[in-house]
Amino acid sequence: MRRAYFKNNWIAALVVAPQLLIIFVFFYWPTTQALYWAFTFEQPWGGGNEWAGFENFRMILTDDRYWQSIRVSIVYAAGATILSMGMALILAVFADRQLRGYKYYRIGAIWPYAVAAPAVGLAFRFIFNPSAGIMSYVNAAFPGFWDPILNGDHALLMVIIAGAWKQVAYNFIFFLAGLQSIPRSLIEAGAMDGATVLRRMGDIQLPLLAPTFFFVLVINITDSFTDSFGIVDTMTGGGPARATNLMVYKIYVDGFQGLDYSGAAAQSIILMFLVIALTVIQFRYIERKVHYT
């Protein structure tokens, strides 16, 4: 590859400036602000703040509601990740078999990724509406079977399904690419060795998919911590009784509805470190460990 060199450092600086500016305005500045707020008591209407040290963190970490939010977030992360990865894997394995019409099927499976989270939330809100959606028929047969408006477990399940559905397309792309990068001759060798289609999937394709699998796993968990806001906001608003109050949603509620900037800032710092930790795991361990050549 050719590399460009600038003799004049000013031009170089000018070229990178827009990108740096964007990163600064949308990442470093808010992050430092949040960091600052997290260690101060910020007044709701602005105008002066007071140094608080770790008091904000202490308050959050001793608050049962915060731990409850963490629990819900973990359930959501696990549920949405398992569901979406499982479904994506099944879809990708079949797309990879290149049966008739698989090209249309492949496009169909990728499409949902283009739908914005709030739109997904809205659509699933109709689908799972206990008195108007598909589930209303089930409810008619078994009264009270499905009620996400009052039943927290139902609401959480509903959010998990919507979140997973949105993520399936993304996972599908990676799984399909991973499967297609496995040389066809390996699968043929498996066939010659006497393995059936299922056996070949289990013994050859899935183990060779491991690097993709771990990558997608980390991305999904990270995503479920940060990108679930739109779905929760449109579907449940964190309810009922905070049953779907995920960490990222709680930050919004505490900050912009409860006007507790400092508490929300401290929560977002915690969430940020969680995501950083996951990213470090991704780069340090998984990407290095899983390779064969």
């Binding site: 040389p183 001759s185 390996l186 043929e188 060798a189 498996g190 066939a191 010659m192 060795d193 006497g194 393995a195 059936t196 056996r199 013994d203 050859i204 183990p207 060779l208 491991a210 064969y292 050549t293």
Partner: protein
């Protein structure tokens, strides 16, 4: 042990027919090499025997059973792939033993067998390595061991040596022949390398554009090529071709510059006036003084081959080569005469490229398959 019968087999992808009606019988325990340039359909034919490609028409039977609709695992074939196709996440031992594991053989028995087979191909020290940690030759051995361990009725090789360097290729070639002599499985070996074909084969199959041009022992194919195509493909340095016409009166082939190469009169009378391609192998020719000999040309350039020298001439603008161990010196443009061993000329009809018999004795004609 099994005999393979291929009857009128066709393969087409959409409208493109890549194999058009091939007939071939591979006898029990025989080593058959399918030779041809890339794109001639040889790998496709092999993969149809293996069951990795559907058969568009015709019938393939192995050991008397028609296998057209059987899965690869039901056919009893083992295959060595061009890129070896080793499972990268399994150790050498696991790679070799995978077929037995799939077949449900108990672990102690399986490991014992893996050890025996690995030892027979010299891999016992590498059992716990992954394929990524092996050299090309070692990977090749693993691929061989993986095929041997199943004790298959039929052994299929898809250009297994083409990824190796020249020296290793010869070595592995010998090893494959040794293994064949030991286990005597019916073997089909696909290659584009004529040396591999000549040295390994009991019988050779020369394929050209989806059809078989000739089936025969390496000797037959070399001495009596059935078509111009086979004649040009087999033999190194390659055969020379000159256009000419059979003259019954002169009992010879008359070339464009009126030079003549005599052939037996009964053959000349059988094809009077036929337009032909005269095929002459460089090793059947001798250089001589200008004006003497059968042909005359001018010297172009010289290639040193070690044991002999290859002289490139121009005869009437047609490149022509002569092999000589005497190694005389010439300058560019020098006139040279060429003496032809008339007992070793190959004559092919210009219209269809088929061989026209020209030897005095008439041995049993090898019928080229349609």
């Amino acid at each position: 042990m099994a005999k393979i019968d291929i009857r009128q087999v066709r393969k087409s992808y959409g409208k493109d027919e890549v194999i058009s009606g091939v007939d071939l019988t591979v006898n029990n325990g025989e080593f058959v090499v399918i030779l041809g340039p890339s794109g001639c359909g040889k790998s496709t034919l092999l993969r149809m025997i293996a069951g990795l490609e559907d058969i568009s028409g015709g019938e393939i039977s192995i050991g008397g059973t028609v296998v057209n609709d059987l899965e690869p695992r039901q056919r009893g074939c083992a295959m060595v792939f061009q890129n070896y196709a080793l499972y990268p996440h399994m150790t050498v031992a696991e790679n070799i033993g995978y077929a037995l594991k799939v077949a449900g053989m108990k672990k102690p028995e399986r490991l014992e067998k893996v050890r025996t087979v690995a030892k027979s191909v010299g891999l016992e020290e590498f059992m716990d390595r992954k394929p990524g940690q092996l050299s090309g030759g070692q990977r090749q051995r693993v691929a061989m061991a993986r095929a041997i361990i199943r004790e298959p009725a039929v052994f299929l090789f898809d250009e297994p040596l083409s990824n190796l360097d020249a020296k290793l290729r010869v070595q592995m070639r010998h090893e494959i022949r040794r293994i064949h002599n030991r286990i005597k499985a019916t073997s089909v070996f696909v290659t584009h390398d004529q040396h591999e074909g000549m040295t390994l084969a009991d019988r050779m199959v020369i394929m050209n554009k989806g059809t078989i041009d000739q089936v025969g022992t390496p000797e037959e194919v070399y001495n009596r090529p059935a078509t111009v195509y086979v004649a040009g493909f087999i033999g190194s340095p390659a055969m020379n071709f000159l256009s000419g016409q059979i003259s019954a009166e002169q009992s010879a082939i008359v070339l464009a510059d009126d030079s003549r190469v005599e052939i037996a009169s009964e053959h000349a009378r059988a094809h009077p006036g036929a337009l032909v391609q005269l095929g002459l192998r460089p090793e059947d020719l001798t250089l001589c003084a200008p004006g003497s000999g059968h042909l005359s040309g001018t010297f172009d350039f010289y290639e040193e081959l070690g044991s002999a020298g290859l002289y490139h001439l121009m005869i009437e603008d047609v490149p022509f080569s002569v092999l000589s161990s005497a190694k005389p010196r010439f300058a560019h443009g020098d006139p040279i005469g060429v003496l032809v061993d008339t007992s070793r000329v190959h004559v092919f009809a210009a219209k269809d490229g088929r061989r026209i018999d020209t030897e005095a004795r008439i041995p049993q004609q090898m019928e080229p398959a349609e």
